[in-house]
Each structure stands twice: as structure tokens, then as C-alpha cells.
């Protein structure tokens, strides 16, 4: 990944559920409703676990 152009990470608003892309340094706040609790999405990658 290019460190010069950080890709925005998409979060979900804890109140209205809208998607909210954030970059580093952004205010942590939903663009639609102003709610300040955001949730990170699950990775799109495959994750590996030991079944123990």
C-alpha cells in the first residue's frame, strides 16, 4: 500500500447505521446524524483459526 495516499476506512454509525469513511486526523463523528460512536467493519480478508 502507498503510505502517501492513505485509503479511507469505512466505519458504521452506532446510531443511524450509515457508512462513514474516515481518514487519519478526521473527527470521529457520523456525517449524517453527528453521533460520535462509530464501529469498525469486519475485514474483507479470509481469517484463519486453529480449531482448538
Amino acid at each position: 500500500m502507498d503510505p502517501q495516499q492513505p485509503e479511507p476506512v469505512v466505519y458504521l454509525c452506532g446510531d443511524c447505521g450509515a457508512e462513514c469513511p474516515l481518514k487519519s486526523g478526521d473527527v470521529i463523528q457520523c456525517r449524517d446524524c453527528g453521533y460520535r460512536i462509530l464501529y469498525k467493519k469486519r475485514t474483507r480478508r479470509i481469517v484463519q483459526y486453529e480449531a482448538r
Binding site: I46, A51, R52
Partner: protein
């Protein structure tokens, strides 16, 4: 060396009951060390196949990934060919990667709930690439050749509308010593065969009521009274649990030595219950094979090791 004493014995086995998931047999003319070795090997060292690696691509269920991976690991899989399979750690064709056909079996699971009704994801949703290795209950349903609404497989997770689970799982050969999920045995027990002696002479001095209370003193039904002769007889010696209640009862009645019970130290009664991964009779045979392999490893070892041991013990 010629006149050394041989401790070799030839144990005998008599099978009493044999089903796919249960077996009862007698092991005679050997000692507790043999019996216990056999029991321990059956529980911890007979190999089976179980899911060991889970790659989850989508999981929007209420259970987290680790939880589901653990549940998948515990599902018993038919392991009839496990003895011939390789352990992934010493598999040459995949450098211990554990991804080739000699040491692993791949499973796929893909489920999504599209309706308002809760969707049960069970072991029946696990699709194996090798028809010899499938969840035990799926094989059972296949064998009985009919759909049983009460037998829907082992529940893994429940999904509500919109939730999805998609994963790939790798099953590998392993032994119960590494993780209990690989143990093919549900329970393995053995008991000494009890030998019960009734002192008939002393028994004759008892009234009928005393005989009755003696019979009733045993928590398990070991003795009974013959309705014709009114004598106390042994009904089921193996029901005795070595609780010594009858012996204490006889003493409290002032008749010590009325009943004497000894454990025959060279006879054992085994009960084996299988998880279904390996059929109970095959489990016993595999355990003997594993035990033999262990003894071979000792025999083939360099004799120098024993000389060293001799030097230690003999102090010469």
C-alpha cells in the same frame, strides 16, 4: 543368558458384547499394567481425523470466529482410514503444510439465512471432498437410508435473516494426547473380576430375616435368596462395586468371614464406548496395533542404551 526367567504371558480375550458404538470384553491372564496401557492407548493414542484449521471468509452470525472454529473441531468425523493416513507434521508430499490428500481432508461450509425462520447450520451442511471422511451423524443417516426429522446433525450455529457463514476447514489426523477432539473413545473402563466366597456353614446360622438384610445391604444387586432352598446365592458378581458394604454388614451382625470378596488380579472386564469416529471393535484392534508399534520402537532401539542403564543400576 539362557536360564533367565521369562515373564511372557499369553493374554486371552473373550468378547461378550459387540456393537458399533459399544463393546464389552474380558481380558485374562495378564496384569493391571497391560490392562491400563490398553485403556490409556484407546483414549489418548488411537488416531482419528478432526477439523484442525478453519479459514473463515464470511461470518455475520452471533458467534465469533474462534467460537465457531472450536465447535467445528469437536465434531466427530468418520476415521476408518486414519491409521493409514499421515500426520501432517511428517508428511513428505506437502512439507508438513497439512494441505495434501495424504494428511488432510478439506471441508466447505456455506450457509445464509434468507427467510424469517431461524436457520440451523449443522454438521450436515459441512461438505467433504473425501466421502470416507464425513461427520459421524451424517454417515449414520446415510447408512440408515432414511430422513429422520429428529436427526438433523450436530448444531454449529443458528442464523437469522441476513446472517451468513462461509468457511473452509481442514481436517487432520491426530491423537487424543494432543487434543481431546481426536480421542475416539467416549469412555473406556476396566474392572477386576470379583471372586465371591460365601461361608455356607456360617450362613446356615442366620435367620431368614438376617439373610434378607444381608442381601439388601449391598447397594448393587449382587446377592439374592434362592426361593426354593432359602440360601443366599451370588446373583451377579460383576454388579459388585468393591464397596465392602456386605462385609461391614456381616461384621456388624457378629459374623466376620461370612462373605469374602477378592479381586482376581489377572482378569479384567473392559467396557469401551466409541464416539463413532471409529467403530468400537476396530478401536480395540487399533489400540493393540499402536501398543505393538510402541513396543517395536523399544525393541529396535540401540542396545547400548540398555548397557548404559545396566551400568547405572548395577554400579559395576
Amino acid at each position: 543368558m539362557e536360564d533367565t526367567v521369562s515373564y511372557q504371558r499369553l493374554p486371552k480375550v473373550r468378547i461378550r458384547e459387540m456393537r458399533d458404538d459399544f463393546m464389552k470384553f474380558e481380558l485374562r491372564e495378564t496384569d493391571a499394567s497391560m490392562a491400563n496401557a490398553l485403556r490409556r492407548v484407546m483414549i489418548a493414542e488411537v488416531p482419528t481425523v478432526a477439523i484442525d484449521l478453519v479459514e473463515i471468509s464470511v461470518n455475520s452470525s452471533v458467534l465469533n470466529d474462534e467460537f465457531i472454529a472450536h465447535r467445528l473441531g469437536l465434531i466427530p468425523l468418520t476415521s476408518d482410514n486414519a491409521m493409514e493416513m499421515r500426520f501432517s507434521r511428517d508428511c513428505d508430499s506437502c512439507d508438513g503444510d497439512g494441505q495434501c490428500e495424504y494428511c488432510s481432508v478439506e471441508f466447505h461450509l456455506s450457509a445464509k439465512c434468507e427467510s424469517d425462520q431461524t436457520l440451523d447450520v449443522t454438521s450436515a451442511d459441512l461438505h467433504s471432498v473425501d466421502h470416507r471422511v464425513v461427520p459421524v451423524d451424517v454417515q449414520k443417516a446415510f447408512d440408515s437410508d432414511g430422513y429422520d426429522p429428529n436427526q438433523r446433525g450436530i448444531l454449529i450455529v443458528k442464523l437469522r435473516r441476513g446472517q451468513e457463514l462461509k468457511l473452509r476447514a481442514i481436517a487432520r489426523k491426530g491423537i487424543g494426547k494432543d487434543h481431546a477432539k481426536w480421542s475416539p473413545a467416549a469412555t473406556v473402563t476396566f474392572m477386576y473380576e470379583p471372586q465371591i466366597h460365601i461361608n455356607e456353614e456360617l450362613m446356615e446360622t442366620l435367620t431368614f430375616e438376617e439373610k434378607e438384610s444381608l442381601v439388601d445391604s449391598s447397594p448393587t444387586k449382587v446377592f439374592s435368596i434362592d426361593p426354593d432352598t432359602q440360601q443366599v446365592v451370588v446373583m451377579d458378581a460383576e454388579a459388585y462395586t468393591y464397596d465392602e458394604e456386605v462385609i461391614k454388614k456381616a461384621e456388624s451382625m457378629g459374623k466376620p468371614g461370612l462373605v469374602e470378596i477378592y479381586a482376581k488380579e489377572d482378569s479384567f472386564i473392559f467396557t469401551v464406548e466409541s464416539t463413532g469416529a471409529i467403530k468400537a471393535p476396530q478401536l480395540v484392534i487399533n489400540a493393540i496395533k499402536v501398543l505393538q508399534q510402541k513396543l517395536d520402537a523399544v525393541r529396535l532401539q540401540d542396545d547400548n542404551n540398555f548397557n548404559e542403564l545396566d551400568a547405572h543400576l548395577g554400579g559395576s
